[in-house]
């Protein structure tokens, strides 16, 4: 034996193995374990799914009670035929995991403030620890724990969750390191067992996304900058173009609750003086999280049967938030979009009816300023006495580092979100507790479960009665001819202005006045006009006796209602056109005003050219048009020219006015008060602002034209991004997509219609749908992003709502899984 070369070579071999088995830091992140990752038997190659893969399988589990067949149609949509509900939910869990495990797991890590566990405290410039702290302090885990109790108290919900969880775990248990989803291999961690708590966390994440938008700190700051008159002009309650969900002119009953503001509110709360240094949140839910839904009665359709349409607008991600499927059991037969992470069909239809949702957009999260006795936060001043706080310790595990503990004081209002420990960079030394509707225990799954079973209007109202948060406009249509919409949720009863700003936390009078009684929530059932609709606009006109708070886009609702009023003899084709319409009604309203105020005579020939294009634009935000680009840049620049001088009075964050505020302002009043630039001696007029902003816009337009990016599609350059924002796993630079803000086809850069669905309630249901994603979450599958190209151009797929015999006759199935008892 040659000792020296042996030892040297053995050391080199061992070093190579150790190196290739380690994560190596590069730039802001770490590589996967390259030897494992590249191994064709273990690593990413195992996730490269053959394009002709068959999904045939025969699976036996302890958790299955009867027999069930799952047929995968040509788009890989599973059609589950189970002997009983228990097996159906077990299989739904199994399928969600089989096709979407990493996504559902990752989303619950995000919701529960656990990203640092897998990502480390930061990577590529993102502080995951900061995000985790934010979610923990907001009370996401606290809220999910409360909801889990409610969910597990209801026998049907508990049974469906238990079966679902067992199904997910049956799949997880079948995995080994070679079959883990790709992202686990990339980030080098392992799937953990699913629990009902993870479903609860996922649903709380939806509450965060849909009922978590507020600007209380920004508005509190605005109070210190603007007078009351200015504030009300900048952030008005209601808009001129408002066509509320519940049509204008409705008469409301006098509220049973006393809605008078506290006696000291004018001096203490609505004072427009106080400055609060806001603690910046690491992220905010997208203000655009909205949706369209509408249902027309048989009187307006060609078939004589109702048609229901829904397209929820969310951040567009891969894997998609939706997973399409049919679940058929002896007790219900439903089809639609499901949430990986939760049992039941969420938006869809069954043998008798169809249902869908838009977001109610109500402000259900408020902050209270508290005075604590000392920095231990043991006691706070409340109703004239010191009151004891309790504590929650939230332990954040950090990959590769010691854990971090958030020691959170709990008060009558809720968790103390901000104190001297979080975040400290503004040194406010003040404490703010958060009161959020999503902190309360609630069982939303009960509603989805019951909707899956609903057969008629009464079943629908019973199904949604217990639903709390996030508040939704729940639309319904049935084969029997009923159409309906109800704004459902537990909404705090607020006096005018309550919760817009940070409230005093030492006075019980500033608490929400209970909940608005359910009987005073908007409901419309078979209205004379023949349709019901919602698009996140204000539910009621401003005479509604409770304050609505929140932020409400106005134009989509306006144009939906104008179209539906005019339409007759409607077919599903007509609905496809309406749902994918790129018509810009905001531009229709704004263009005459802009053209009225612009000083033509001062424009150069080049500027006139752009103005002519704008004048002759057909008002459609189609991908090939240049009018939308001109309008968008001009409008944004006008907003800046008009408001940025007033808003520069503070370096702290302020809420930015809505476009509708400016256009309503300048249409009504040619001496608009904010037109003047307060930093110049001259008195600027709206004519000056409109002309100056156009000249500024032309400079940018010329640059875009030089780059060949002047058409709307190229300017917008939309995309659907992977949850980890990895470009190679995303579909970026989509240049043939129209749509945008204020447009029914609400596809902005990375946000838009996440599931388009049209259901005609004929005897044999006639339904169409599509979402911008694909049935497989695996980037190595051809089904990963299979629907995106069709979705972008406004195509729909006919939804195959079939019984077992019809499925057996399908010739283009991708496979069949038979589930049976072990």
């Amino acid at each position: 034996m040659r000792i020296v070369p042996f030892i040297v070579c053995a050391a080199i071999t061992a070093a190579l193995v150790i190196l290739l088995n380690s994560q190596i830091p590069t730039g802001g992140s770490k590589t996967p374990r390259l030897g494992y990752f590249l191994s064709p038997q273990k690593g990413f190659w195992q996730n490269a799914e053959p394009t002709d893969v068959s999904f045939n399988n025969d699976l036996k589990f302890d958790g299955i009670e009867g027999n069930a067949d799952v047929y995968f149609d040509d788009r890989l949509v599973p059609h589950v035929y189970a002997d009983n509900e228990h097996d159906a939910f077990f299989i739904q869990g199994y399928l969600h995991a089989k096709f979407r495990l990493w996504q559902m797991d990752f989303q619950t890590y995000a919701a529960g403030g656990r990203l640092s566990e897998i990502m480390g405290d930061s990577a590529n410039g993102t502080s995951f620890l900061k995000i985790d702290k934010f979610f923990r302090r907001l009370g996401m885990v606290y809220g999910a724990e409360n909801s889990l109790k409610e969910m597990e108290t209801d026998p049907a919900t508990k049974a469906s969750c238990d079966a679902y969880t067992n199904g997910v775990n049956a799949y997880i248990n079948s995995l080994d390191e070679s079959s883990y989803p790709l992202e686990y291999k990339l980030l080098n961690y392992k799937p953990e067992p699913w629990t009902n708590m993870k479903s609860a966390l996922f649903l709380k994440y939806m509450s965060y996304d849909l009922a978590g938008f507020e600007q209380d700190f920004e508005k509190t700051n605005a109070k210190s900058v603007f007078t009351k008159a200015q504030y009300q002009a900048l952030f008005p309650y209601g808009q001129d173009s408002l066509d509320p969900i519940n049509p204008k002119g409705a008469v409301f009953v006098k509220p049973g609750v006393n809605m008078t503001p506290p006696a000291n509110a004018d001096s203490l709360y609505l004072n427009y003086k106080q400055t609060v240094e806001p603690a910046a949140a690491p992220e905010k839910p997208d203000k655009n999280n909205g949706s369209n839904n509408w249902a027309v009665s048989g009187a307006k359709t060609k078939s004589g049967r109702p048609i229901l349409c829904n397209d929820p607008h969310l951040g567009l991600n891969l894997p998609s938030i939706w997973y399409e499927m049919q679940i058929s059991t002896p007790s219900f037969n439903a089809y639609g979009a499901s949430f990986p992470g939760s049992p039941s069909i969420i938006i869809g239809f069954n043998d008798s009816c169809a249902w869908g949702f838009t977001n109610a957009e109500r402000d259900v999260r408020d902050y209270y300023e508290l005075k604590f006795k000392d920095s231990t936060l043991q006691e706070y001043w409340y109703n004239g006495a010191w009151r004891q706080a309790t504590f929650r310790d939230e332990i954040i595990k950090i990959r590769g580092k010691p854990s971090d503990t958030e020691h959170i004081a709990m008060t009558v209002w809720g968790p103390v979100m901000y104190d001297q420990h979080y975040p400290d960079k503004l040194h406010t030394n003040k404490t703010y507790a958060c009161r959020w509707k999503a902190h309360d225990g609630s069982n939303e799954l009960k509603t989805f479960y019951a909707l899956n079973h609903a057969q008629n209007y009464d079943d629908y109202t019973a199904a949604i009665a217990s639903y709390q948060c996030p508040g939704q406009n729940m639309i319904f249509a049935a084969k029997g001819g009923d159409i309906a919409i109800k704004q459902q949720g537990q909404f705090p009863a607020k006096w005018k202005g309550q919760g817009d700003f940070i409230m005093p936390g030492d006075d019980t009078n500033y608490a929400w006045r209970g909940n608005i009684p359910d009987s005073e929530n908007m409901v419309m059932h078979n209205p004379l006009r023949g349709f019901v609709s919602s698009a996140n606009q204000l539910t009621y006109d401003t005479s509604y006796p409770y304050y609505l708070g929140g932020s409400y886009p106005v134009y989509r609702g306006f144009i939906v209602n104008r179209n539906l009023t005019a339409m007759q003899n409607i077919t599903t084709d007509d609905m496809e056109h309406l749902q994918t319409s790129n018509y810009n009604v905001f531009a229709e309203i704004a263009r005459p005003a802009l053209l009225k105020y612009i000083a033509d005579s001062t424009l150069t020939a080049n500027e006139k050219n752009y103005l002519d294009v704008f004048k002759s634009w057909n008002l459609n935000n189609d991908a090939t048009e240049t009018g939308p680009t001109i309008f968008k840049i001009w409008w944004d620049s006008l907003m800046k020219v008009t408001y940025s001088d007033e808003f520069a009075q503070t370096s702290l964050p302020l809420p930015w006015p809505d476009g509708s505020t400016l256009i309503d302002g300048i249409i009504k009043d040619s001496t608009y008060q904010f037109a003047d630039n307060i930093n110049t001696p001259e008195k600027e007029t709206i004519q000056d602002d409109v002309t100056a902003s156009f000249k500024q816009a032309v400079q940018m337009l010329q640059k875009l034209e030089g780059e060949g990016h002047l058409t709307w599609g190229k300017f917008k350059s939309s995309g659907v991004r992977h949850l980890l924002l990895i470009p190679a796993f995303s579909r970026l630079n989509i240049t043939n997509a129209g749509g945008g803000d204020n447009i029914i086809n609400a596809f902005t850069k990375y946000h838009g219609p996440s599931w388009r669905m049209i259901v005609e309630l004929t005897d044999k249901i006639n339904a169409y749908g599509i979402y911008p994603g694909g049935q497989e979450g695996n980037p190595g599958s051809k089904y990963y992003d299979a629907f995106i190209s069709d979705w972008v151009v406004g195509k729909y797929y006919r939804l195959l709502f079939a019984n077992r015999e019809e499925m057996q006759q399908q010739t283009n199935l991708k496979g069949k899984i038979v589930f049976s008892k072990l």
């Binding site: 071999t13 064709p40 190659w45 490269a48 799914e49």
Partner: protein, 115 residues
């Protein structure tokens, strides 16, 4: 002949071992094969190297073809290799090969020099 048998055995065991053990278990089998089929250091290295080069290269190639390069192109952007599937296959093959080659080379020193 001995050289080819070594390659064949190394590849065969290099495939079998990771079915039950971690990805790097082929290094152990490459070592064992080279202990029993003893060759001069250069030949031993070449045998171990070529065996895994072919095993991992061909395996990755077959998977990639069946997948129509969908995933390899994405990974070749993540890593980053300019999106070239072929480069990714070559790197994959090389990583297996270099470990196996050194394992086999180590084994060649378990006996004294042949005269």
């Amino acid at each position: 002949m001995k050289f080819f048998i070594a390659i064949l055995l190394t590849a065969l065991l290099g495939y079998a071992a990771p079915l039950y053990f971690p990805w790097w278990s082929f290094a152990v089998t490459s070592f064992i094969v080279a202990v029993f089929i003893h060759q001069k250091p250069l030949k031993a290295f070449a045998g171990g190297f070529i065996a895994l080069l072919l095993l991992w290269g061909i395996h990755a190639y077959i998977i990639d073809n069946a997948n129509e390069h969908i995933l390899s192109q994405k990974i070749a952007n993540v890593l980053p290799l300019g999106g070239a599937s072929s480069v990714l296959i070559l790197i994959t093959a090389f990583v297996g090969a270099i470990v196996s080659g050194f394992a086999a080379l180590t084994a060649s020193f378990t006996r004294g020099k042949k005269v």
